[in-house]
């Protein structure tokens, strides 16, 4: 047997061992009910949206080539930023409210500075390096941003020096989404290889891998406490994974759900898991949904 085959065999044996060990831990089952589906209106396309940490301002990106920042409470537009490209797939607000980031089909993450003296918004930095479109990013702070891309990697880039650590590799499919853990420098990513991975930013490595989904994972979100996270997938299920148990806790699915799940978000206590194209505010008061019908709706 060649060395390659021997190694393969060794890997298989380890996997079987792990599977048995996990089974031994899986002696309990949870059961939960599906809460009501929130109906959505439909018209033109919003591709992405994100709340600011003040739970009032939110940014939306639409296929009309604009980023709009809304004061969701008064429904006034605070900024309207025309983009170079019509193909925006995701947008993000820095926790400080000072920066916005968005991507285009050019695989570059452009950040916009919002608090310039002059009052107009312009591009402050550009982060290149990915060789596939950017599916998601989140600001760690005003100087660092974590990105995920269709080139199957994630990366952590520093804005002001436009440099980056070596990328986080490991996924074998487009990485569609990521979520930062509350209070720590960890994040999880979900990809088209149907797996989710937990990454350690300071150490630059993958700590754990979670499988179970049958198809692309489109959305991922940490539980309010950083021990668990939920994923939404093309297989029309959501799953809850726990870091300490190192496996899937349960699957949420329903015969009446006939669509793929694109985004998930927890309510403040973690009691409710909302799915769709949406985001829950930091203070947990409302959820905003954005849709291909060009409308953003705020629900509570």
């Amino acid at each position: 047997m060649s060395e390659l085959d021997q190694l393969r065999q060794e890997a298989e044996q380890l996997k079987n061992q792990i599977r048995d060990a996990r089974k031994a831990c899986a002696e309990a089952t949870l059961s939960l009910r599906l809460h009501t589906t929130l109906t959505q209106g439909h018209l033109a396309k919003i591709y992405a949206m994100h709340w600011g940490t003040d739970s009032r301002l939110l940014v939306s990106a639409s296929q009309d080539g604009k980023l709009i920042i809304w004061d969701s409470y008064t429904t006034n537009k605070v900024h309207s930023i025309p983009l170079y490209s019509f193909w925006v797939m995701t947008c993000e607000y820095a926790p400080s409210g000072n920066y916005l980031a968005c991507d285009g089909l050019d695989n570059i993450c452009s950040t916009y500075s919002l608090k310039t003296g002059e009052g107009n918004v312009h591009v402050s930095h550009e982060l290149a390096g990915h060789t596939g479109y950017l599916s998601c990013f989140q600001f760690l702070d005003d100087n660092q941003i974590v990105t995920s891309s269709a080139d199957t990697t994630c990366a952590c880039g520093a804005l002001k020096r436009a440099s980056r650590q070596p990328p986080f590799t490991g996924h074998t499919g487009d990485v569609m989404s990521l979520s930062l853990a509350p209070n720590t420098r960890l994040f999880v990513s979900g990809a088209c290889d149907a797996s989710a991975k937990l990454w350690d930013v300071p150490k630059g490595m993958c700590r754990q891998t979670f499988t179970g989904h049958e198809s692309d994972i489109n959305g991922i979100c940490f539980f309010p406490k950083n021990n668990a996270f939920a994923t939404g997938s093309d297989d029309a299920t959501c799953r809850l994974f726990d870091l300490r148990a190192d496996q899937e806790l349960m699957t949420y699915s329903h015969d009446n759900i006939i669509c793929r799940i694109t985004s998930v978000s927890f309510s403040k206590s973690g009691c409710l898991l909302l799915t769709g194209c949406l985001g829950v505010t930091d203070d947990g008061m409302v959820v905003a949904t954005g849709s291909w019908d060009s409308f953003l709706k705020i629900w509570n």
């Binding site: 309990a28 100087n143 297989d235 726990d242 148990a245 409302v286």
Partner: protein, 463 residues
């Protein structure tokens, strides 16, 4: 997922379509309690083979155990938007819970047949509609515009299209009158899905992010009207996903290291983990505005922003203070909580721990060019021999940190920070919770509530 084997991508759209088709088939099965399909007498003629919106909604609620009619209507609309059932008098595909008439789509036109009709087909369709002198086949405004546009685009082969349209009209004429009514409406519904009314979502459009992956290599281009023509343009070539690299020995070695780490990892039982998550949600449920109404009121509902004013003020509410006691992280997260804790530590002359922790948090957010300086400052302030705010580290931790400082990066003090965090948590934090400072705050609002109330009403009266 296997290691390095080629996974045939599941086609979620197909799975979804099969689900809908199951529902639709059951709905039409009158032997097992399907929806009543009738011919309705109208003014001068009969309307064949229809069902009402209400009947559909009722059926969905009964057979899919849906309690809320709104959810059933939503599901019905989704099924309609995909083109499996359609309103006979409207191009817009939604479901209404009333006497509106709907018809089921013919399996020939089902989306699962992988239709991607070309514009030539659409042109033939619109063209033949203009050839038939029937009020019900008159073109809508947007259809007339589409036809005009297609005539310009296909100017050179319009004669061919015209001939195909005539041929279709001939075929149609041979059919029975009632059958034609039904087929015409089904054909129109098919085009409503693939060439929707402006303003409607095109449900056949794929998420652009998934487009580039080879979805269905078996898909064969076919024409709705059986038109075969050499000059018909080929469909754009699908760019296959990134070619799979052959796994090397190195890849597998890495995998083995990873798997070994996984086995060695101590993992908790699911029951314990589930208990802990449930305990968390139970504790925080009162802080979740989706479940427990916010006090005094949720500004989004009542339009009264008192709640936000209270949160911005320096005086924390009792609920907020209570939360600081849930975990050490809670008090560290809250600005007001941190201030209170800092004040308490100052009274005990041990504030250097918290100040160190905060300085290290801040360091991690600094731009790269400032990092080296900050590292030096923190070292001098808290750790260097003779430091003004010396913190207490064990010798091992001190060793590691002094080594790290030489390279001065964002995570230089990670080890030290963790040590100090644990120290504060087990020692100072526990004492803080027992302290009169904290206890007073916890109870303070009970005393001060009436005062605050009076103050507010005072304000309102004077304005």
């Amino acid at each position: 997922a296997g290691s390095g084997d080629v996974r045939t991508p599941l086609i979620p759209a197909l799975r979804r379509q099969r689900q809908i088709e199951d529902i639709i088939t059951k709905m039409q099965d009158d032997k097992t309690g399907g929806v009543p399909i009738r011919t309705v007498k109208s003014f001068l003629s009969k309307i064949p083979s229809v069902v009402t919106g209400t009947d559909v909604v009722q059926w969905l609620m009964k057979n899919l155990s849906i309690e809320d009619p709104v959810e059933a209507i939503h599901l019905g609309s989704l099924i309609a938007a995909q083109g499996y059932i359609f309103p006979i008098s409207d191009h817009v595909l939604t479901m209404k819970d009333d006497g509106t008439f709907y018809r089921f789509q013919a399996p020939y036109f089902w989306p699962s047949n992988c239709w991607e009709p070309e514009n030539t087909d659409y042109a033939i369709y619109l063209c033949k509609r203009t050839m038939q002198n029937k009020a019900r086949l008159e073109l809508a405004d947007y259809e007339a515009e589409n036809l005009a546009r297609l005539q310009r685009a296909f100017a050179r082969k319009w004669e061919f299209i015209f001939m195909q349209a005539e041929a279709q009209v001939k075929i149609d004429r041979k059919k029975d009158k009632t059958e034609r009514k039904i087929l015409d409406s089904q054909e129109r519904a098919f085009w409503d899905v693939h060439r929707p009314v402006p303003g409607c979502v095109n449900t056949t459009e794929m998420d652009i992010r998934k487009c580039r992956r080879l979805k269905n290599p078996q898909k064969v281009k076919k024409s709705v009207y059986g038109v075969t023509e050499e000059s018909q343009s080929q469909s754009p070539v699908h760019i296959p996903s990134q070619p799979i690299r052959k796994t090397t020995k190195d890849d597998i070695r890495k995998q083995i290291t990873f798997l070994n780490a996984q086995i060695d990892r101590h993992c908790l039982k699911m029951s314990k983990v589930a208990e802990s998550l449930i305990a968390y949600t139970e504790q925080y449920v009162e802080y979740d505005p989706f479940i427990t109404p916010a006090e005094p009121s949720n500004p989004w509902i009542s339009d009264d922003i008192t709640l936000w004013d209270i949160e911005m003020s320096k005086e924390p509410s009792q609920q907020r203070v209570k939360r600081w006691g849930f975990s050490f992280d809670e008090i560290l997260k809250d600005q007001v909580g941190r201030d209170q804790f800092l004040r308490f530590l100052e009274s005990e002359f041990s504030s250097e721990n918290l100040r160190f922790w905060l300085a290290v948090q801040d360091l991690k957010k600094q731009p790269l060019q400032d990092v080296a300086n900050r590292v030096e400052e923190i070292w001098q302030e808290f750790l260097a021999p003779g430091a003004p705010s010396a913190i207490n580290l064990d010798s091992h931790s001190y060793e590691i940190t002094s080594q790290n400082v030489k390279d001065g990066g964002r995570y230089t003090f990670e080890d030290a920070q963790e040590h100090i965090y644990k120290l504060m948590k087990s020692d100072s934090y526990a004492r803080f919770l027992r302290s009169s400072a904290y206890q007073d705050l916890l109870l303070a609002k009970k005393k001060g509530k009436s005062l605050a109330g009076k103050r507010l009403t005072g304000l309102m009266q004077s304005s």
